[in-house]
Symmetry: C2
Subunit: 141 residues, 2 copies
Amino acid sequence: MHQPKHLKKAGLKATLPRLKVLSLFETSKERHLSAEDVYKLLLLSGEDVGLATVYRVLTQFEQAGLLMRHHFETGKSVFELNKGEHHDHIVCLQCGRVEEFYDAGIEARQDAIATERGFTIHDHSLHIYADCTKQPCPYKT
Amino acid sequence: MHQPKHLKKAGLKATLPRLKVLSLFETSKERHLSAEDVYKLLLLSGEDVGLATVYRVLTQFEQAGLLMRHHFETGKSVFELNKGEHHDHIVCLQCGRVEEFYDAGIEARQDAIATERGFTIHDHSLHIYADCTKQPCPYKT
DNA sequence: TTGGTAATGATAACCATTCTCATTTGTGGA
DNA sequence: TCCACAAATGAGAATGGTTATCATTACCAA
């Protein structure tokens, strides 16, 4: 449990709710969690954290660079631990499962396109929405 | 004014609100409009259309293939006329201006990535968020 | 330990969007 | 052309995710 250092380094007090949220992301099987996911998982494991605090902490972690926020078409923000290495996402429309990928060619083309047009890239998001074909979809709605 | 045919072809009654909304997209200087944009523009031009109707009509037009819906990080859906040809977007973080681009290489890589992983692509969204560098930003917030 | 600032939690407020339902409108058939 | 009826509309309530408010509580440096 060396998390307090991570928080200190990010300029955040090492409070209980923050430690719990960070720990959840580090131990959860599912990398991608919404605010409500985090809230419910904490309640399930007996931790008593307010929903408002969950939202605040997630936003703070995003600003501190500990988490990354994604806007999928599901209508809610999804967060994941920031591994430092950029990647894009492919989202299953049947079960909401998220896979990650990285393609150097796509990255390079984006930089070229922005530069050609006189823009300085801050960020980008590439989401592929698709259906699983090989694997039967586990959570078919 | 041959719009009624477009609506009929799409299986939609040629009602006044629908004609007004379609006409707005065909004449507006700004291709990309949110539901609220549409609502306010109609009010300004003296047309009396309910907000709920605007939302309904936009969704119907999207399903009929007349409009395309985009989810930018602004938190609200944005619509544009469907020109038939796919393209992606680069969004200026200073003024919210949207430019369109298409890159065959990026498209091809996406198809390949999805296929490799056993997915069938439904759709994708690629948004580049950036700052104008050359052109001074006209609407600097 | 303690003071003071920052964080928390319950709840209200917010905003985009959707739903409800009584009223109005478009349209195909008489 | 007129009529009848299903479909569409509009006003406002309801919803869902997220943020703001504010009194209470918890961290932490001295």
